[in-house]
Amino acid sequence: MYHKPYVILGILAFLALLAMPYWVTAGNIKYEDIHKELAKPKGVNCVENVKWMAANHMELLNKWREMAVRQGIRITHTETGTYNVSLTECWKCHDYNHFCKKCHEFMDVRPVCWECHYNPGMPFKTVHFK
C-alpha cells in the first residue's frame, strides 16, 4: 500500500463521518416510546378517526383556519360529532404541554401557528366559547 498514513487518515475520516449522529449528540441518543409518554386525551373520540388525525392534524387545522378566518364558518359536522372550528376545541381533550408540545419536541417540529395564535403553553388562561 502506498501513502499509508494518508490512506488510514482518509478511512478514519470516512468512518468518523458515518458516525456523525453519535458525535453531534455526544453519544446522547435516547430511545423513547413516545406514545407511552404522551398524556392520554380526555374525550372518547377525536374530530376524525385517531389514526387519520395522527398523520393529518395539521391539514385539518389548515382547513379549519380557512373555514374560520376566511369563510366565517365556526361550526363543523364530522362523522364523530359537531365541533367548534377553533383551536380551543383541541384543548378540551388534549393537554397542550404533555401531548402536543411533547410530541412536537420529540419530532423537532416547530409549527408556525404560535407566532399569532394562542396555545395553553402561554401564560394566559384558555377561554372556551360556546
Binding site: 490512506v7 468512518l15 430511545y31 423513547e32
Partner: protein, 334 residues
C-alpha cells in the same frame, strides 16, 4: 407480523456492505502504484522571479504538498475542474462553448443532498441538536408560505437531478456515453427524493413511528411490533430504496467521493523539475527502464516493450510507404 423485522435488519446489512465495500475499494486503490508524475495544471508554475505567480496559480499549479492539498480541497468542495467545463467545437474553428451549467447543477445537487442528509439527523437523534433545527428553519425560510414550509434543498435537489439526468437523456453525446448504471443510480436518487417529498407535502404519514423506528436502528434497540406495523408503505419504499442505494454505493460510480482523493492528476504537486519522481514499483531506479531488459520483481522479469525501427516499419509498411510517397506532408481529409 414478524416479517416486518426485515426492515429492521435491512439498514445494518446495507451499512455493512457499504463500509466494508468502501474500505476494500480504498485499499485496492491505495495498492495501485503511480509510475509517472502526471499532475495536470492550469496555472503558472514557479519559474524566474519576474514571472508573475498569483495565489490562483499556486492552487492550479501547486509546487508543494501544502498547495496540492489546497487544490484537493478546491476540487472536493468547489468542483474546481468541473468549473473549467467547456465543449470543443471543430466546426466552429476550435471555439470552446461554455458548458459550466453542468458545474452549477452538480454543485447544487451535491450541497442540497448534504443539507438533506444533515436534516435527516432529526430522526436519528433524540433530543435533536440545535444546529439541525436551525438548518431546517433556514432551509424552509423561503418556502414558509405553505404548511409545512417548503424546504429549498429538496426542491433544488430535484431540479438539479432533472438537469443531470436530462443531460444524459436528451444530449446525444452524453446519451451515447451513458451506461445503464448511470441511469440506475440517478433513478434511485429520483425515487428517494420524490418519495421523501411526497411524504412531506402530499401523502401525510404518522412520523412519530418513523422516528421511533429510526431511533431503534441507531440505538440498536429492536423496535416493538407495534412500531413496525404502523410504518407507512410510502416510508417503507423510501427507506428500502435508501438501503439499496447505500448497499450499491461501493459498486457504483458514486465511489467518486473516495476516488477523487486518489486522482493522480489532482493530488500530485507539479514539481517535476524540482524533484525526481521514482516509479514506486521499480526496485532498481538508478538505471533507466529503457536501458534494461526489464524490471525484476520477486524473480519475475517484466519486459519493457521496446520497438526498433525495423519492426515498426514491418508493422505499418503500407501506411509508412504511403506517407513517404507524399513526401511526409499530411493533410486532413475534408
Amino acid at each position: 407480523m414478524t416479517f416486518m423485522y426485515i426492515f429492521y435488519v435491512l439498514p445494518y446489512v446495507a451499512f455493512a456492505i457499504f463500509v466494508v465495500g468502501t474500505i476494500y475499494r480504498i485499499l485496492e486503490w491505495a495498492k495501485c502504484a503511480v509510475p509517472l508524475k502526471i499532475p495536470t495544471t492550469a496555472g503558472q508554475q514557479p519559474a524566474f522571479k519576474f514571472v508573475r505567480r498569483t495565489w490562483i496559480d499556486k492552487i492550479d499549479s501547486p509546487s508543494n504538498k501544502f498547495w496540492a492539498f489546497v487544490r484537493m480541497l478546491f476540487e472536493v468542495f468547489l468542483f474546481r475542474s468541473l468549473f473549467r467545463n467547456t465543449k470543443y467545437y471543430v466546426e466552429k474553428a476550435g471555439k470552446n462553448a461554455d458548458t459550466r451549467w453542468l458545474w452549477l447543477f452538480a454543485i447544487l445537487f451535491h450541497y442540497s443532498l448534504l443539507i438533506i442528509v444533515i436534516r435527516h439527523l432529526r430522526f436519528f437523534t433524540n433530543p435533536t441538536p440545535k444546529f439541525v433545527s436551525l438548518l431546517e428553519y433556514l432551509d424552509g425560510v423561503v418556502g414558509v408560505a405553505i404548511v409545512p414550509p417548503l424546504l429549498m434543498s429538496s426542491v433544488i435537489a430535484l431540479v438539479a437531478l432533472a438537469f443531470l439526468w436530462g443531460r444524459r437523456i436528451f444530449l446525444a453525446k452524453e446519451r451515447c456515453i451513458s451506461l445503464p448504471s448511470d441511469h440506475l443510480i440517478l433513478g434511485f436518487m429520483a425515487v428517494i427524493l420524490v418519495s421523501g417529498m411526497l411524504m412531506r407535502y402530499i401523502v401525510k404519514i404518522d412520523l412519530s413511528y418513523v422516528k421511533m423506528f429510526a431511533l431503534s436502528i441507531i440505538t440498536f434497540h429492536p423496535p416493538s411490533p407495534d412500531v413496525l406495523n404502523h410504518l407507512h408503505w410510502l416510508f417503507l419504499i423510501h427507506f428500502t430504496f435508501v438501503c439499496i442505494t447505500i448497499a450499491y454505493l461501493p459498486f457504483s460510480k458514486v465511489m467518486h467521493f473516495a476516488g477523487v482523493w486518489f486522482s493522480p492528476t489532482r493530488n500530485m504537486p507539479n514539481d517535476n523539475r524540482m524533484r525526481r519522481h521514482v516509479n514506486p514499483w521499480d526496485p532498481n531506479p538508478e538505471v533507466p527502464i529503457l536501458a534494461r531488459t526489464g524490471i525484476v520483481i520477486d524473480g519475475m522479469v517484466f519486459k519493457t516493450k521496446k520497438l526498433d525501427w525495423d519492426t515498426y516499419y514491418e508493422m505499418y509498411k503500407d501506411q509508412l510507404d504511403e506517407i513517404a510517397e507524399k513526401n511526409y506532408t499530411l493533410k486532413p481529409e475534408l
